[in-house]
Each structure stands twice: as C-alpha cells, then as structure tokens.
Subunit: 178 residues, 2 copies
DNA sequence: TTATAGTGTCACACATTTGTGATATTTGTC
DNA sequence: GACAAATATCACAAATGTGTGACACTATAA
C-alpha cells in the first residue's frame, strides 16, 4: 500500500530531521510529491497519520509482549524487544509526544507504556534493580536503549542478530540487574 | 558575548530540529534575526561556528579528563563526565559528524575520541568488559548515555547532582563492568 | 553634548517549500 | 486494443524562509 509506504518514509526522514521538506519524504518513498499530496492533504495530516501509525504499531507490539508473561522481568525484556521491533517508530513517537500536548488517545498510550514502570519500586526493594536509580532515569534509559539499537542497525556496524541480545544485556545491567 | 549566546542557542535548537528556521534560533538567543545576521553571514557560517565551538569545548573537556589518570577505567569515567559537561554540544557534534564528510580537523577530533576505544579488546580479555559486546556497540552506548543525561537534565525529573553518578553507574554496568 | 557601537524595526528581493489544477504516462485488467 | 486506476510531469500561486539595506533607538564613553 502506497499510503503505508509514505508513512514509513515520513517516519524515517522526520525522525532525523523534523523540518525536512516533503520532497525528501516523497523521494524516500520513491514517489512524486504530487502523489504524496493525493494521500495526505498537507504536512499536518501526514504528521498525524504518522502519530497514529506509530501508536498503533507500538500498542500492538506491547500487547503481544505483555500477554506472554506475568513475570515483570520477562515483561520488561519483551517490552524492549517490542520497542526494537517498532524501531524508529517508537523513538519518533516519543519525540512527537514531547512536542505536542497530550490528547486523550495519547494519554492511553502513555498509560500503557508507563504501566510497567510501576513495578520498579517493588523490584528495587527486592534488590533486583539498583536502589541508587530513580524511576524517571530508568525510563529514559529504556527509550535511549531503543535509540541505540536503531542507530546500531542503521550504521550497519553491528550484526542484526546480535543486537537484541546486546541491547537487553546492556539495558538489564544498566539498571542494576544481574 | 552575543556571538557565544547565538551559538549556544543554535546548538540547542538545531540539536532538536536540524532544519529549524533562523527565527527560532534568534528567538532562543533573545535577539532579532537581523542581529544574528550581523554576526553570521548566513546559515552555513553559523553552522560552522557551532562545529568549531563544540569541538573546542569537547577537546578541552577531554584533555582535562585524560590528563587526570592513566587507568583506562578512570579515563573512561572522566570521558563520560566530560561529555556530560559539554551537554548538548557533544550530542550535536556527533550528529553533525554524521552529516558532513570529515575535514582534517574533524579527523583530529575523531581520533581523540576514538583513542580510548582501542583499549576495549584488552579490557575484554581481562574480563573487565563483557566479551559478548562489540566495540561499535560500546561506542554507541557511550554517546547515547550522554544523550540520556541531557534528556534527564532537560526534563527536570532527575536531580542534577545525582545524574553524573547514575550515568556512570549505568554505563559502566551496561558494558559489563562490575 | 556628541560620537560610536550595538541593537531593533521595517521593507524588500530572492529562494525554497507548499498545495493544487491540468494533462500526460504508466500499469494492470478485461 | 480498450479501459480505469494510479502515478508522473509540468505549471503556478501562496506561504515561508533567507539575506540585505536603510534608518531609528538606545546605551556608554569621550
């Protein structure tokens, strides 16, 4: 589907340069700018479509991840993998979220994501997560670990197969897990 | 000095949106766009000034850090702190480096930064750094840890005093150190 | 007070980006 | 081949961003 192709291109381009001209997005999608405009009235509409698409992708991946286990540690691992699978979509969504004020939908998204982090204090008491770290810091680490993975994949200097394992290893240890 | 004020504003704005209009930079610097143009002929000149400023800041911090110890682990810790002290400058410089082809000066910068990472294989053999991780991945983690710190500071949700400690703790452990 | 340096405001030409209409050209299907 | 759907190309007006000149408005020092 051309529409999805455009959205994917837009996410890829805007993630690197938020004010990039539509030509660049069209080029990335291998379409003319004119065709892009046939699917999206204007820049704002495209941006909104990106937001919805990213949210949907992330939610779907998250749901699948969370269904698989009740153990918070396993859930966290699966959440990280879900974020990685969403790739740029997750990172860019996170950026967009900062720029625009939260709508009702956004709040649902944020709630879904934040849900896990409620477990942190309990895990800290159990000594599974370092007590030196704060919850906001751990959240930031989580997002940045996904960004690191994206960058590693894009740079091509790391073998794709190894990345997920390395990411989980690094993230797990960065928050004080064994 | 107004010139420095503009450069700082430019780094802050362009770090978030590389194609942001000059109006935004001028606004951030609390100056009119006309005044900005009195200091910098055009966008390219401002960008170049940013690059030089960031490189200088980073080099200075790095030199100071490296003078303090011969132990690679201590050096790494001090390098991380240097990066954090440079703040956005380090992260943006890293971005710029990707976009523009390396000049002679850039190579010197890159060399200084990369210098430390030569120690990694030796440290891996000693079992101080995880053998599961690759050098490119460790480099990415280093940069992203600085970005995490910037974000944490900017969000205001983490106490500044704690950040450096948390960043070093998380980075150290993420690469497999004790 | 009078210079003078730094800044702000306004106006302007120019370039780029954006959104749209008109008209081919391609693509797939019958 | 004939047809319809999707796309490309071109042209164009409107909006936005860029760089510059002219001039007015502070300050501060001589």
């Amino acid at each position: 589907m051309a529409k999805q192709k455009i959205i994917d291109a837009a996410i890829a381009v805007l993630n690197e340069d938020f004010s990039a001209p539509l030509d660049k997005i069209a080029a990335k999608a291998e379409l003319s700018r004119r065709t892009l405009h046939r699917y999206f009235r204007d820049r704002a509409e495209l941006l909104e479509a990106c937001r919805v698409d990213m949210m949907h992708t992330w939610q779907t991946a998250m749901m699948a991840a969370c269904r698989q286990g009740k153990d918070p540690v396993l859930q966290l691992e699966l959440m990280l993998y879900a974020g990685i699978d969403c790739g740029e979509k997750y990172a860019f969504l996170d950026t967009l979220q900062e720029q625009a004020p939260a709508t009702t939908q956004d709040k649902a998204y944020a709630a879904a994501r934040d849900n896990w982090f409620r477990h942190v204090p309990a895990l800290q008491r159990k000594g599974m997560i370092s007590k030196e770290l704060t919850v906001p810091w751990i959240r930031i680490l989580f997002v940045q670990m996904i960004r690191s993975t994206i960058q590693a994949l894009r740079s091509g200097s790391v073998v794709p197969n190894d990345i997920k394992k390395m990411a989980w290893y690094s993230f797990r240890r960065s928050i004080g897990m064994a």
